[in-house]
């Protein structure tokens, strides 16, 4: 019980904030690729003592979502949130089976892209406020800081709530799954790298 309490009150909030800080790289700042699944999942795995699972999940997710491009106003599946979610689920005290955490992570990545769309819509309402801050030294930097902080807090909250709810739920569900369903989930996880290879080969053949 104390393990769960310290995870939920200390470790998970800190890890969610770390993931959220890395996640700023996806859309808001710099774009140095530190929020890609290939980076996030192994780093989290290393921090949480399971680097191998981190690499396995990171590579498979990276390959699977590599053709999801943020072109124009499109918001594809968020690979960074997918990797963070999957890793926090399977390496935390709930110890969700990686085969179950992986699709759950994919679902979180897809769900988060909807949240991002809502943030962008909300930012439209703040145009005048930001516009008035631009050009005023100090105020414009504070506006940037607020935008980054707001997004990071929202991402951290999203991860904290989703992992906090999905962790025990998936742990409970996994032991009660009918055999064929469990087999299907395990098979999909086992072959995920091959699905990823197909994405990689196809993307370079595309005209």
């Amino acid at each position: 019980m104390s393990d769960l309490l310290s995870w939920n009150l200390a470790a998970l909030p800190v890890l969610a904030l770390l993931c959220a800080a890395l996640e700023l790289d996806t859309r808001h700042a710099a774009h140095l690729m530190v929020s890609r699944p290939l980076v996030v999942a192994p780093v989290l795995g290393w921090l949480l003592g399971d680097a191998w699972t981190g690499l396995r999940i990171g590579l498979a997710l990276e390959l699977l979502v590599m053709d999801e491009l943020p072109v124009g106003g499109a918001i594809p599946i968020n690979g960074g949130v997918a990797a963070s979610g999957a890793m926090l689920l399977c390496t935390g005290p709930y110890g969700v089976e990686p085969a179950a955490a992986f699709p759950a992570g994919l679902a979180l990545g897809a769900g988060f892209s909807r949240t991002e769309a809502a943030v962008r819509a909300a930012q439209t309402k703040l145009i005048r406020k930001v516009e008035s801050a631009l050009g005023a030294p100090g105020r414009e930097h504070r506006a940037v800081g607020r935008a980054l902080l707001g997004y990071a807090v929202m991402t951290a909250l999203f991860l904290y709530i989703c992992v906090g709810v999905l962790g025990p739920a998936l742990g409970w569900l996994w032991t009660r799954l009918p055999g064929p369903v469990e087999d299907g989930v395990l098979l999909a996880y086992d072959i995920a790298p091959w699905l990823g290879f197909a994405t990689a080969v196809e993307i370079f053949w595309r005209k």
Binding site: E131, A147, P180, L195, A198, A200, V201, I203
Partner: protein, 255 residues
Amino acid sequence: MTELSPRLKRQLFWRSLFLQVFWNYERMQGLGFAFAIAPALRKAHPDAAAFHEALKRHSGYFNTQPYMAGFILGVVARLESDRHAAKDEARITAIKTAMASALAGIGDALFWGTLRPFCAILALGVWLTLAGAGLGGAQAMAAALLAYLLAFNIPAMIVRWQGLSVGYAAGDKIVDEIKRFHWQERIRWLRRAGRTLAVVITLSALVVPGWGWDKAVVYAAIFAAALSLKTYRWSAAQTYGLFAVSGMILSFIIR
């Protein structure tokens, strides 16, 4: 004066990293562009009213690929600093908008569509090679991540940084200057290299681990099926879901 001062270049570069921070559906990167170009406008328009008027002009709709924005920031900084050019505000906006669309097409294809997947495949290749050569798991993983980040960020940073100088030096002649980079040839070359690497890695993953022929054939069939679905634009989640459901049905029949 056709050279960007080092101080202004550093300011523009630093601010260009936050181009998307205020992204919204009405103006997309417009407010971010205004934030990024502000130091150049302040220098070009010492009068506060003129500066704010110019800033307002540049906070309108704008959208391009973030790594290519340096070229446009350079061009706009040059045109705004040129007294004759700065008078024709509509022309500056027109050049900016036209460049944004053209460079977005190049940048999306180069960075998102080609370089990023190439770097992921490269990292996978580095990891497999080092792990296969007997290097420890953590070391091989660190080397693969480093390869991924360096292979992507070095060219991306060069384009961002140099784009500012190239854009500033070229001014409204930027179109001719951009052509000199032969973007399409570079993209084609990178795609060919990526394609070769992806095929080699897939074949190695089938053969090297010694799965046994039966398992290798199953994996090859799964790869072929997934590849067919990809050509019909199936997303990652759809393909993954289909194979999970197929596995469930297969298991139900076998049991």
